[in-house]
């Protein structure tokens, strides 16, 4: 069998397609692959692409997507509710909705409930937090800030060293490195934005430190690769 003929059927072969007309064609392909390194190499590449495709990572949409979905559902329900006539009177309608577990809250109603919940939670937390825990919180915050400064200083040093050498790197490696770095920096930026919205969120601070560590480690590993 000629290489050209085999290569046209290689995807079917890689997929274990029984439709390759009968046992003969499969056997002929296998015989050819056994004696043709270039076709065999191509078969292995196609197999690798197929395998890698199955293992592609899941991608994550922005968190705001859920909010958009809820808003759109809410708008649709408001429109539907406006078209539906109540059975008889306000209370009958409400009872009907309660018993059928069909709740339709308007956005202002949901915002009101949310605000009340926030107030209740804040009051509860403030009441239960003694002076000691407030001091612990401040101490923890200071420790985290110090750690952030230390990591940033080390990152700046390593970046400066890398910048000097980057121009001589292989362009594909350089592009890869910059893509990775940007991805980490985007995540750090997002963390910072979240922190601006909630400055006392220690989990966000920890996240940011984790991301700085990821960046620091990337730079250290690249140094070890000696590009």
């Amino acid at each position: 069998m000629e290489c050209r003929t085999v290569r046209i059927s290689l995807s079917d072969y890689v997929d274990g397609q029984p439709s390759l007309s009968g046992g003969n064609e499969m056997r002929n392909i296998e015989d050819h692959l056994a004696s043709c390194p270039s076709c065999r190499s191509l078969q292995l590449e196609l197999n690798e692409i197929k395998t890698a495709a199955r293992e592609l990572p899941l991608r994550t949409p922005p968190r705001a997507l859920w909010t958009r979905i809820v808003n759109e559902i809410e708008i649709e329900h408001l429109v539907v509710a406006a078209e539906v006539q109540p059975v008889s009177g306000l209370w009958a309608g409400l009872w009907g909705r309660l018993t059928s577990f069909r709740f339709t809250f308007s956005l202002p109603q949901m915002a009101g409930v949310a605000a009340l919940a926030v107030v209740l939670i804040t009051v509860t937390v403030l009441n239960f937090r003694g002076q000691n825990s407030e001091m612990d919180f401040t101490r923890l915050q200071s420790a985290l800030i110090r750690e952030e400064m230390t990591k940033k200083a080390e990152i700046d040093r390593k970046m400066a060293a890398i910048e000097e050498r980057k121009a001589n790197w292989d362009p594909a490696f350089r592009a890869d490195f910059e893509r990775q770095l940007n991805r980490i920096e985007e995540s750090i930026k997002q963390c910072r934005k979240n922190l601006e919205a909630s400055p006392n969120d220690l989990n966000q601070v920890q996240r940011m430190l984790d991301l700085y560590e990821e960046k620091r480690q990337l730079l250290e590993d690249v140094e070890r690769l000696k590009w």
Binding site: P57, T60, F173, I184, N203, E214, L218, R224, L225
Partner: protein, 261 residues
């Protein structure tokens, strides 16, 4: 036309005798063949595997491997072995493979260049491992010594049947797979920026868990965990008496902790 062509003689004088001709041919052969061999060497070297062996004190061993593009595979042998063997295969592109043993017995294998190299190292199971590749998988199984495995870009790490007390596995885009038993006082740190962390422990495993994923999900299976602290993407929990520490971190990937069946 030249006269000598008509006369049948050479422009350089009368034809040489047979011994002289033989001498001339022999000299030509000796001059040209080394050149041919030297020119052929890069292709030959590419196809030839790289093999080195190092002697170590039994029951010890420290190995550092730095690859660029390609896999690193560790084969763990008898803890009393006195040898570390390196087998490397250049698969494509230009690359340089250097290996040496420093004064304290540590074996260092470094790949330079942009080619793809597959590295396999046979080590005693107690050896300390420091493995780094830019792109490619890292595989370590049935090992006891300390392990640090890092993939700078994409590639998966596979840890199976380990009895190490200190294991670190990190990939930026790829996944980290661990299946085994966390030993007492063990410290296990698995991180991936965008990949998945897939950990399988026996249901009676004894560990303290700290897990965080910021955009992925947490799937802790049906582990009998006692939660100290949990939010949607951060967990601190204990299984059993919590005698070892497990730290799992991913920014965008998923964390899965399941029972080893």
């Amino acid at each position: 036309m030249f006269e000598w062509m008509k006369a049948g003689s050479s422009p350089w004088g009368p034809p040489a005798s047979a011994p002289v001709r033989l001498f001339f041919i022999g000299s030509l052969f000796l001059t040209v063949s080394p050149l041919l061999i030297l020119l052929g060497m890069p292709l030959a070297a590419q196809a030839q595997p790289f093999t080195r062996s190092f002697h170590i004190a039994p029951g010890t061993g420290e190995v550092e491997v730095i690859n660029q593009i390609g896999t690193i595979r560790i084969i763990s042998t008898d803890t009393r072995s006195d040898r570390i063997s390196v087998h490397a295969k250049r698969l494509s592109g230009d690359s340089r493979i250097n290996s040496l043993q420093n004064s304290s017995g540590k074996v260092i294998i470094e790949v330079g260049g942009r080619g793809t190299v597959e590295i396999e190292v046979v080590v005693p199971a107690v050896a300390r491992l420091d493995l780094l590749t830019y792109k490619g998988n890292i595989e370590v199984s049935n090992h006891i010594g300390q392990i640090r495995a890092r993939i700078v870009s994409d590639g998966d790490i596979f840890f199976t049947g380990l009895r190490s007390t200190n294991v670190e596995g990190h990939s930026h885009y790829g996944n980290v797979h661990f299946s085994g038993v966390p030993v007492n006082q063990g410290d296990y740190r698995f991180k991936s920026f965008a990949g998945r962390l897939d950990v399988k422990f026996p249901s009676n495993a004894d560990f303290k868990l700290s897990a965080a994923t910021h955009q992925g999900g947490l799937d802790l299976g049906d582990f009998p965990l006692k939660y100290d602290h949990q939010m949607s993407d951060i967990v601190e929990a204990v299984s059993g008496a919590g005698r070892s520490k497990v730290y799992l971190w991913t920014q965008e990937g998923q964390i899965r902790l399941h029972r080893l069946l």
